[in-house]
């Protein structure tokens, strides 16, 4: 028991650090993309098409991770892709959290018809295949960063709503809420000042998860060619392109795929790590 808990804690710590470092590095690369990327991500050089990464024979050391079929530098495109991925993650993640948590809090705390309406809405939303819904929304909204963010919020608010509603219901049943009611505090005041702070850790854990999901949704939409302009350096777009030339130039697919994998993994592990670290303190 003691021993088991000891090793568990160590593992949680390592995973928080590792994922945190990866996300930090990617965020910095995204922030300073124009400064750190060795080439312009859009410049085509048809004479330098499909150059392999540096350790493979026939490589040009100027293109560390090789070039795609149009001769664009893979590394630079990954770095600039991080910009788009992280912008989407941040904005869509937070917006989804706001909308979903707000509805969840209202449903779980007010109960009654508010709860009925919101819960029914969640049910209806859960009856759609999310990817299909996302594609449909992009078809409606048109391509572009804003459309992607709106689509993610519209699809994924239920994830927050369901969890936060349950949590708000739990908290509402606790004694501190009853005593606040007895003290005559206004209803909404209790919701914001008493219940919300106790639901916040759950929301934060979900938020990091949602950021990873946002990155994936962006990649899926780029993959189906519905994201931003097909020229812009997005990870999903690179993957889609790499998929078509996979037998001739595996690196065009493999590197963005690897980066996407590690980023999504890090977002979820970071959230889990945070939860492990703060849970015992809060509960």
């Amino acid at each position: 028991m003691l021993d088991g808990r000891g090793t568990l804690k160590r593992r949680a710590g390592a995973r928080l650090w590792l994922s945190g470092i990866w996300l930090g590095v990617m965020a910095l690369l995204a922030l300073f993309a124009p400064l750190v990327s060795p080439h312009d991500p859009l410049t085509q050089d048809l004479f330098a098409g499909r150059l392999p990464p540096f350790w493979v024979e026939g490589a040009d050391p100027a293109y560390l991770l090789g070039t795609d079929s149009l001769g664009r530098d893979v590394l630079s495109r990954i770095i600039h892709g991080a910009r788009i991925a992280f912008s989407v993650a941040l904005v869509a993640g937070i917006a989804t959290a706001l909308v979903g948590s707000l509805l969840g809090l209202l449903a779980g705390y007010m109960r009654g018809w508010v709860d009925v309406v919101i819960s029914r809405l969640v049910d209806i939303w859960m009856a759609f295949p999310p990817v299909l819904f996302a594609i449909l929304l992009i078809a409606v909204l048109g391509t572009g960063l804003t459309s992607i963010i709106i689509a993610i919020v519209v699809i994924d608010w239920t994830r927050f709503c369901r969890v936060v509603r349950a949590e708000a219901m739990n908290q509402s049943a606790m004694d501190y809420v009853s005593s606040a009611v007895v003290a005559g505090r206004p209803r909404m005041d209790i919701l914001w000042r008493e219940i919300l702070p106790n639901v916040l850790p759950t929301i934060v854990a979900l938020l990091t998860l949602e950021m990873g999901i946002a990155v994936i949704v962006e990649a899926i939409l780029s993959f189906v060619n519905l994201s931003i302009s097909s020229d812009a350096p997005t990870w999903g777009g690179m993957i889609a392109e790499g998929r078509t030339s996979i037998y001739q130039a595996w690196w065009v697919l493999a590197f963005p795929l690897g980066v996407l994998f590690l980023t999504v993994l890090s977002f979820s592990q970071f959230g889990e790590g945070l939860k492990d670290r703060f849970d015992p303190v809060l509960r």
Binding site: R120, F128, L132, L136, I216, R243, A254, L257, Q269
Partner: protein
Amino acid sequence: MKLLRAILLRLATMSVTLIGAAVVVFFVIRIVPGNPIAMMLPPGASEDDIARLTAHYGLDKSIFEQFVIWLGGVFQGDFGTSISLRQPVMPLVLGRLPATMELAIFALVIAVVIGGAMALTGVRYRATRTETAIDVANGVGLSIPDFLWALILIVLFGVLMPVFHISGRISPSLDLPFVTQFYVFESIARLRFDLWWDLLKHMFMPALALAIPLAAIISQLLKQSLKETMHLDYVTLSRTKGYGENHVIVSEALPNAVLPTLTLIGVQFTFLIGGTVIIERLFSYEGLGNMAIDAVINRDLPLIQGIVIVFALLFTVINLIVDMTYALLNPRLRHA
């Protein structure tokens, strides 16, 4: 009596959900920019032609009128006519649904086998390196969605070690004797195991991609509830009766630990079916999801509606089945 009321209530909420889904889809796709009729006609078609076809598909009426007409048709099993494929939607959708169901069921089987085996192994060798390894695998499996697993599988087993097919449902060179769209089941029924094997080889990669996250979820939850069950007195008691650890886990702990996992599998199975949309696209698998993406790209409104409604119906029915199975399997509920 109580049971009957519960069932009726369930059916009522189910229909509310379905009608709600129909309304949302119907109105969302009417805002889609781009005229589907113009898209299907060759460039240079006259204004007149476009107007005539628009009227033919009823798209000249007001949205509410269109909705009433469409809903009336739906209740009679008529989902309208696909604009891009120029065929009735219903047979199109039903023709593709079996392919998707076979893929989803195969994925579910893989997930249950892998997840179950990992959970049992983890409990059998609890508090050892084996369990730690399984925990790590679960963590990774859970964090990475099916889309990424699919791409990783394509790189690993399609390109680096090309052992599995990564495109299509069945080898195009084969002669198909099938009369239904349930190829896998029908190939077994016809004892055509050559076809069956070809189908499985095509399905394995997409099914595995769909299965990995679910396998991780099953493994994690089942292992946790097994471990909780392993501490219970009746499990300990059965150890004193002379049974080996494997028997104790499988026949004493498992039947009681499996129930929460089962409910979870139900919900997760609907997520898995949702995942087939993009996975079918990745593997060029001719299922409903692949057709759905084409329908969106072609602005084929009746087809999109039909597909979404079928998915929604599928999801709600699966949830209903899960709830009923849960009630049947739990002896405490059964006798209450």
